[in-house]
């Protein structure tokens, strides 16, 4: 009874709140007003139902933290087992790998192309995951480093005819360089300032690319960027896409390998310690600025490298590909996936990229849903879809000790 009253109030409140924007649409030139009363009904019913869900989730969260989460039980333990027990995860990995290898052979170019895009976001997500997930640095301008890589390839190719494989390491290096250049002054600041400065930096890079015509060809961008070759061989469209696909699969594997090793290394632990408690971290003898800088630069390196691949994939780039929305998408991949969790980030990247691709209706609401899910995730499940589990057997004592 109490619940219904509460939900009714919520529903009325939201109907009031959304009334002007959802119902009325004015045309100030034609001097007409359009009334869309149906929207009010949707909002009312939606808010009513949603308030139940909200309360239920809040209660569950409160119960979960009270008894230290044996409630979030069976399913949790099951996913954990899949992720930690070699007997369980080895066959899964094998199946995924085989699937990945034969995928471009049985699918058409269009599908393969989409998959390449998804893989690009996987790598971007894993790269940003180093910065946000592991080191806890909120980087809202990640796409700037991606742009640096893409423009590095486009411009170096245009002016000097440099090939893909030459520019790939250069792009990565430039990403790192920009990361260090930006990071050095701002990383000693408090965390929330970092967020806003990186956001500003991302916008600066985009604005410069848009306005500095002599350098970047402005909003019209650069076209005819060559696809990667293979020892001088040129491909037709289909095989070029396949080639890129395998390249991206290799890149994903490489990234996983690196991130996985870093997670259980001296540097990785320092990153996590920094994320958990900066002051205790410093008191343990860890140089805060230097540690932050390595994470920031390493993330930027990845973005730079993937930028090169992106330019080679689309063969055309312009500043519109590097807006804040792009950074926001990559960030929501990390947040949804579970900060620090490799599997989670990969899963989130696939969901967020493939879902709008196959569900056109969904794509209109894509950013709306991303935004909402970032809020909901933070409120109800800050650890993400799949929380990062610290491996229990990562550190073995030597037997003679």
């Amino acid at each position: 009874m109490f619940g219904i009253k509460k939900s009714l109030l919520v529903s009325i409140w939201f109907m009031f709140l959304t009334f002007p924007l959802m119902v009325i649409r004015v045309d100030t030139i034609e001097k007409t007003v359009q009334w869309r009363w149906m929207n009010m009904v949707y909002v009312g019913v939606g808010a009513f139902l949603f308030s139940y869900v909200w309360r239920f989730l809040l209660e569950r969260k409160a119960a979960g933290s009270a008894v230290d989460a044996p409630a979030a039980t069976v399913k949790e333990r099951f996913t954990q087992r899949i992720l930690t027990d070699p007997k369980m995860y080895r066959p899964v990995i094998a199946i995924v790998l085989v699937g990945a290898v034969i995928f471009p052979l049985i699918m058409d170019t269009y599908q393969v192309n989409i998959m390449v895009t998804a893989l690009i976001y996987v790598v971007l997500g894993l790269g940003l995951n180093i910065v946000v997930g592991l080191a806890g640095l909120l980087d809202l301008g990640y796409v700037a480093f991606y742009a640096v890589g893409a423009y590095a390839y486009a411009l170096l190719n245009y002016h000097f005819g440099l090939g893909f494989w030459t520019v790939l390491p250069i792009g990565a290096g430039l990403g790192a360089l920009f990361g260090i250049m930006l990071g050095f002054p701002v990383l000693r600041l408090r965390g929330d300032y970092l967020a806003i400065v990186t956001l500003g930096f991302g916008e600066i890079i985009r604005l410069v690319l848009e306005n500095w015509n002599e350098f970047s060809f402005g909003p019209s961008g650069i076209s005819n960027i060559p696809r990667p070759g293979f020892f001088g061989m040129a491909f037709d469209m289909h095989s070029a896409t396949q080639y890129l696909y395998y390249l991206m699969v290799a890149m994903v594997l490489f990234t996983i390998f690196v991130v996985n090793r870093l997670q259980h290394s001296r540097i990785g632990r320092a990153w996590m310690a920094l994320r958990e408690d900066e002051i205790a971290c410093q008191a343990m003898g860890i140089d805060r600025t230097k540690t932050k800088l390595t994470a920031f630069a390493l993330g930027a390196t990845w973005a730079g490298a993937v930028g090169v691949i992106f330019a080679a994939k689309t063969t055309f780039i312009n500043p519109a590909s590097f807006t804040f929305m792009e950074s926001a998408i990559i960030l929501s991949i990390v947040v949804l996936g579970g900060m620090g969790s490799i599997v989670g980030v990969m899963l989130a990247a696939f969901i967020l990229v493939l879902l709008p691709e196959y569900l056109r209706a969904f794509s209109e609401y894509r950013m709306l849903i991303f935004g909402a899910s970032m809020v909901l995730m933070m409120v109800f499940r800050p650890q993400g879809l799949i929380s990062n589990i610290r491996k229990k057997d990562a550190y073995k004592r030597s037997s003679d000790a």
Partner: protein, 300 residues
């Protein structure tokens, strides 16, 4: 010289708008130490509400100053309601969570609201009616100071005075200052901190809506994205002046307004937004506490 004065008043107008938005950032930051990324969106929603109200009531025969006041009042009301709701949904459940969580939640809220307006209204630029009349007595000065600019500047001054009175002399103002200084102590002395936080969001959002309606009618068009850049700049202004400090926010806004106005006027208009961000980065490097902010030591 006219050109100089044109840029001067242009900068002052900009600065006034930034100040109206920056106050929301600074007040919220002063109390819960959170960058409310969704604040720019509240400003944008204020502008949209103003547009809708103006559109509906102009058909009912309202015009001129009465229409402006009506649009302003309802926009303020709605923006405040949004600000209040945003805090309840996206920030309140996160008190005591890690410092990253509310920031991400704020970003998510900002993205959500942008796209909510985009879907509910349109992605195009909407023309905004000129609600501020051209005053005859402003005729001689028209080259460098228009009527709408005058109204913006004067309104901002009035709002600032009202805010100062509110904070200095009312009960809620005192509670706000106490909470900003020391949350625990405030709570012990019987301040209802939840209430104070809600009021801060309501007041800050209302101020932003005033700015939103004024700038929209001055520039003549709006879209769902205006809050993003304006919010970023107003935040820059707040940091410039010293985040948490109310006079600082005003001072920072004016400096930013003039910097932009003169830099675009004398250097290049292509890089209008770049100047603001460069200023932000420089300030953070050389004086992170801002002009009027005091550097404090985090208690360990």
């Amino acid at each position: 010289m006219d050109y100089f004065w044109e840029l001067f008043f242009g900068g002052l107008t900009r600065g006034s708008i930034y100040a109206l938005i920056a106050l929301g950032y600074t007040m919220v930051y002063g109390i819960i130490e959170l960058i409310n990324f969704a604040h720019g969106e509240v400003y944008m929603i204020g502008a949209f509400t103003g547009l809708i109200v103006a559109g509906v009531f102009s058909l009912m025969g309202f015009s001129g100053a009465s229409l402006l006041v009506l649009a302003m009042v309802i926009a303020v009301l709605y923006s405040s309601a949004y600000g209040y709701t945003i805090e309840k949904i996206a920030y309140k459940p996160l008190r005591g969570a890690s410092r990253l969580a509310p920031l991400i939640s704020a970003i998510g809220m900002s993205i959500f609201l942008q796209n909510y307006v985009l879907l509910a209204q349109t992605s195009d630029f909407l023309p905004f009616p000129a609600l501020i009349p051209e005053f005859d007595f402003m005729e001689p000065y028209i080259d460098y100071l228009g009527s709408s600019e005058l109204v913006i500047i004067l309104t901002t001054v009035l709002v600032m005075i009202a805010l100062t009175v509110l904070i200095k002399f009312t009960k809620i103002g005192k509670a706000m200052r106490a909470t900003a200084q020391n949350k625990k102590m405030a709570m012990l002395t019987g301040v209802n901190v939840d209430h104070v936080i809600s009021m801060t969001f309501i007041i800050g959002s209302g101020l932003a809506a005033v700015g939103g309606v004024l700038i929209a009618t001055h520039i003549g068009q709006i879209n769902f994205y205006i809050g993003f850049i304006a919010g970023l700049k107003a935040f820059t202004a707040a940091v410039l002046g010293g985040i948490g400090s109310i006079p600082g926010a005003v001072l920072g806004s004016l400096i930013l307004g003039w910097t932009e106005s003169f830099a675009t006027g004398y250097i290049s208009s292509d890089y209008e937004d770049v100047f603001a961000f460069c200023l932000l980065v420089l300030i953070l490097i050389f004086r992170p506490a801002g002009i009027l902010g005091r550097s404090t030591t985090q208690k360990v």
